[in-house]
């Protein structure tokens, strides 16, 4: 039996470490990844104090982590029948989670970038209209347009992934070939 629970602890630790590394690289807190992994690997929903105990986090940290996860729709309250404590369970459709976060975050990020590069282009175009002989401005505009093109491609990429869950890249490849080559 100690054999089994040791194995269980070891496996959970491995997974939690790994997930927290992945998720941290993706801009979340590592501890948030730990909490999710713990719930994901539990057959039963867990109360906050158990989570705190197994992750070695304070009650406050667990509360904040759970809140973040709830906001992303990655963790649920389980219908705790009659219990005093609230029980939490993990959303298990990881693919859906990834898509949601990408849609909410990466898509906005890249969208802002597209906007800003567009603004920069506009500023330059206006200045060039007033100073047609300034070759440096023209040069910069060319480069900025390059960035804008890439950002636009990136946006379509992220968008298609967020919406359909897959990349459909043939149009984007074409854009790449013609715009950038």
């Amino acid at each position: 039996m100690s054999d089994a629970s040791e194995a269980r602890a070891k496996a959970i630790e491995l997974c939690a470490d790994t997930m927290s590394e992945l998720i941290a690289f993706w801009g979340f807190k590592a501890s948030t990844g730990r909490i999710w992994t713990l719930l994901y690997l539990s057959p039963e929903p867990l109360p906050a104090d158990v989570i705190a105990e197994r992750t070695n986090l304070s009650a406050g940290a667990v509360s904040m982590g759970l809140q973040e996860l709830k906001q992303w729709g990655i963790v649920d309250r389980a219908p705790s029948s009659g219990e005093r404590k609230r029980l939490f369970r993990a959303e298990t459709d990881v693919w859906a989670i990834v898509r949601r976060v990408i849609r909410e975050r990466e898509l906005r990020l890249v969208g802002r970038a597209v906007q800003r590069f567009t603004d920069a282009s506009a500023v330059l175009e206006k200045a060039i209209a007033a100073n047609p002989d300034d070759t440096e401005l023209t040069f910069i505009l060319g480069r900025v347009r390059g960035l804008l093109g890439l950002a636009t491609i990136g946006y379509r990429l992220v968008e298609s992934f967020a919406e359909r869950g897959l990349f459909t890249l043939d149009p984007i490849r074409d854009a790449l070939r013609s715009a950038d080559g």
Copy 2:
């Protein structure tokens, strides 16, 4: 003229801010992104002191930033003919940069994850062999295998992007459908 240089400064600032945001999200330092953007938008290679001046960074910070960029092959020393100062210029093939970084970093990251999930599975399988009636172990193994499957798909995705520059996803979609649905 002041009109033109104002526009130039404004456009560069917009782009540098945007790139540093993108790049910071991707795990680099924001100041590194600034330095690269400055070089990318300059028609001529620039010496370190000019970079320091325009980015408001100290000489030391610029030196370190340039070193990081050089290590990634994202910045070059320009063949400074006879000059005392060393001149630096940006790699302009952004697509190639992205692929290189993904290959060197993301691919390794996900590869490690695949390895670790595999290890976790093995631990659990062994424990289950010794304790066939432990339903919790079996449950956890199922979940870990789910993570392993996703990580494997992710690995192929990143790999195909790093190698070919594009995602070729039909096989992965199939894997998804059959493994996860």
